[in-house]
């Protein structure tokens, strides 16, 4: 199939390209980018005037729930939500059932994605067997089976020595370690951000220090071992400051945050709204502003969604019993566009945060629009207004605190390897 995207605003952060023009796709690859490419016979032309053409968005932190909890999400439904949200690739965390701690599970995910996936799916494997924090998984096997990174995600490695070993050993295989930074002794039993509101609601709080202590430890270990560390879902002002200082000191650290941390505060849980229960918890306005600043200044490298589907069984319950997590693949783009519209980041920086940096950090294809590179492309209508409703979401679960919100901006065309994976 040959496709011509005509007259769009083409953004490529890898070469700081921001121009109006045409983009030609042939055999799944980008063939040419120019001010004007003539449309010859047999070429399908898509009018992209008033639209923005970005390198396909890459979400390095999602939960697809397969294998094991297919009633929440499957690789098929999760990737459908991904392409509808403009993502051409997702990295799926290892807390499946069974956990992705061996080559067989990694391979299962790859195979299932090949058969049923709507976009690229890269498995993130566990650091320790069963995510139990006792013994390292077989990094070589996992790498060969297709894992692109390692993380124990929601079960952070509590043993600092084991974390040191993981970082050291990861250097042999170029497998970045992703740290879910949480000091469990400080967060135990916590339900939301610790502060006046948690006291008022009678919910046990999680102090910001639970996150910051853990980030500090992992950054120290990265400095010690020289191995790169990627900090997942940063939520506090203090965390941004620790990461800023580490980067200035030359430690190989990168970091991500999620749209809910720059769009919401702890106030969203008032009334015991379990849809806003997430880990780390939503923080305060001061933190939210610091996260936005860190995104603008380059302290935070990536916007990832931490897309975490849960059914009503896990959410329509007492707050203390409710599962943590919210879905984010279909709302990430408009929430990030709010920052662009406010002039906090420009289109190039947005493409860096949602595509180029994720690709670079995990050494994935994509992140750029260059002749010869795979045609993973997202076309955005920045002015399209829509409302978040359960019926409108492709994800199998509907646990979004943004239900009912009016959004502006959406992917109207998502191409994966040059094929139309989603069209609005």
């Amino acid at each position: 199939m040959r496709l011509l995207l005509k007259g769009g605003r083409i953004i490529d952060p890898s070469v700081a390209l921001d121009m109006e023009g045409d983009l030609l796709i042939e055999e799944g690859q980008i063939r040419a980018i120019d001010r004007e490419i003539p449309a010859d016979e047999g070429l399908e032309v898509i009018d992209c005037r008033q639209k923005v053409i970005l390198p396909g968005l890459i979400d390095i932190h999602v939960h697809l729930r397969e294998p094991g909890e297919e009633y929440k999400e499957t690789i098929e439904t999760g990737t459908l939500a991904a392409v509808a949200g403009g993502f051409t690739a997702v990295c799926t965390m290892p807390n499946t059932k069974p956990p992705n701690d061996c080559a067989a599970v990694t391979k299962f995910i790859r195979d299932r994605a090949r058969e049923q996936g709507h976009c690229r799916v890269y498995p993130v494997a566990a650091i320790t067997v069963g995510q139990r924090g006792k013994r390292l998984t077989e990094f070589a096997d996992l790498k060969e089976a297709g894992a692109v990174a390692l993380s124990d995600d929601g079960h952070p490695v509590a043993d600092a020595f084991l974390m040191r070993l993981a970082l050291e050993y990861s250097r042999n295989f170029n497998l970045p370690i992703i740290s879910h930074a949480e000091e469990l002794a400080l967060s135990a039993g916590g339900q939301m951000n610790e502060g006046a509101l948690s006291t008022l609601l009678g919910l046990k709080g999680i102090p910001k220090a639970a996150e910051e202590v853990a980030i500090f430890r992992d950054i120290s270990l990265a400095a010690l071992t020289g191995a790169p560390i990627h900090i997942a879902h940063v939520s506090t002002k203090g965390a941004c400051e620790i990461i800023r200082r580490a980067k200035e000191a030359g430690v190989p650290v990168t970091a991500e945050t999620a749209p809910h941390y720059f769009s919401l505060t702890e106030e969203a849980v008032a009334g015991y709204n379990t849809l806003a229960k997430v880990n780390p918890p939503l923080r305060t306005e001061e933190d939210r502003e610091a996260i936005i600043e860190a995104l603008a200044e380059g302290v935070i490298d990536v916007i990832a969604t931490d897309h975490a589907p849960h059914s009503v069984l896990e959410k329509e319950v007492e707050f203390a019993q409710a599962a943590c997590g919210l879905i984010g693949l279909e709302t990430a783009l408009p929430l990030t566009l709010r920052l662009v519209r406010r002039g906090i980041i420009n289109w190039l920086r947005m493409a860096e945060l949602l595509s180029l940096n994720p690709a670079r950090i995990l050494s994935l294809p994509g992140g750029q629009l260059r002749p010869g590179s795979p045609a993973d492309i997202t076309v955005i209508d920045p002015e399209l207004s829509w409302r978040v409703t359960p019926e409108g979401l492709k994800s199998r679960s509907k646990n979004s605190p943004f239900l009912g919100w009016e959004m502006k901006g959406a992917a109207i065309l998502t191409l994966v390897r040059g094929r139309v994976a989603f069209k609005r």
Binding site: A188, G189, E194, G195, A196, L197, S198, T199, L200, L201, G202, L203, K204, G205, G271, Y272, L313, E314, E316, V317, E318, F319, A320, Q321, A322
Partner: protein
């Protein structure tokens, strides 16, 4: 009494109640107390109404108080006790609520170990919901009976100095009382081990001091809270012995308070830990009055929620 115009369908916490509504409840409770002093302590006000007491946490005292209040007003009552330990993913609360709903109760009184459970219940039933204690959130009827007791003893609440001493973090009674007392103009002080003072308690209306003597100095009302040695799996204080020595209400400490101060405790008491026997049974103790007022306050709430009429009480 005029037909009450009570603007709420549920009693979830003192946070939701305004000053005028609190006053209305207290005034109504005062007239309910008159019924309790009659030889035949029963009026037909709520005849034909059904009240379900749904208790996921053991509490003989609160349950009996609610049941007695309902019976004094001639309502039909059903008690359901369920173990919250069997609650997996919370289906039990909503499933139980839906089953009860099918029997069309007018009021559900809920006691539950998780904060916000009463809020959750309101989303699944048509009945009015009374929060009889949810997790570490609120226990509004306890605060209301405390207010009634203080008002009886002191005449007014505005301008009083109230000292609440003990485990503030885990006490829903303290949370409700801080909100209620500060709404009515009292100066509320909290004190206790720093490990038991939650962050942001000032935002609820309390002043914090780590010197218990400062909280007690000139206090008109002293509320002792129950100390449970183990909270959430970790010891928050080194020993009960040290607690009693440093924070316990002894006659010496109480002597710092106003000459006519009153001593309150939501019960059950650990005598010799948070309160010495001399203080608990001393002349300033109004602990048993609190229990009596509990029935009156709960009658008032049932009456107001179901919009009882003047004739029925007469």
């Amino acid at each position: 009494m005029e037909k009450a115009s009570f603007p709420h369908r549920h009693i979830l916490g003192m946070a939701e109640l305004g000053r005028a509504e609190i006053e209305l409840i207290l005034e109504t409770a005062a007239s309910m107390k008159e019924i309790l002093s009659r030889p035949i302590k029963k009026v037909p006000t709520l005849r034909g109404k059904t009240i379900v007491h749904l208790f996921f946490e053991p509490s003989t005292r609160t349950r009996i108080s609610f049941e007695m209040a309902a019976k004094r007003l001639s309502a039909d009552t059903v008690s359901v006790t369920a173990s919250a330990s069997s609650v997996v993913k919370g289906e039990t609360l909503i499933d139980t609520a839906k089953n009860l709903e099918a029997m069309a109760p007018d009021i559900i009184v809920l006691r539950h170990p998780f904060s916000g459970a009463a809020h959750l219940l309101t989303r699944h039933v048509r009945a009015s919901v009374i929060n009889a204690g949810d997790g570490t959130h609120e226990h509004p009827t306890q605060a209301l009976l405390d207010l009634l007791t203080i008002r009886e003893e002191k005449g007014n609440i505005k301008g009083l100095k109230v000292a609440i001493v003990g485990d503030i973090t885990h006490s829903r009674v303290a949370h409700s009382n801080i909100l209620a007392l500060s709404k009515l103009g009292a100066e509320v002080w909290v004190s206790g081990p720093a490990t038991m003072i939650p962050p942001g308690i000032e935002r609820l209306g309390a002043r914090v001091t780590y010197k218990i003597e400062e909280a007690l100095a000139g206090a008109d009302v002293i509320m002792a809270l129950r100390i449970q040695k183990e909270r959430q799996g970790r010891d928050l204080i080194p020993s009960l012995r040290e607690y009693a020595r440093v924070f316990g209400l002894t006659p010496e400490r109480v002597s710092l308070a106003a000459k006519d101060c009153i001593i309150m405790h939501p019960g059950p008491m650990n005598r010799g830990v948070e309160i010495s026997p001399e203080v608990a049974d001393g002349p300033y103790s109004v602990i048993l009055d609190q229990v009596t007022n509990g029935v009156a306050v709960r009658m008032a709430i049932l009456y107001l929620l179901l919009g009882g009429s003047r004739e029925a009480v007469a």
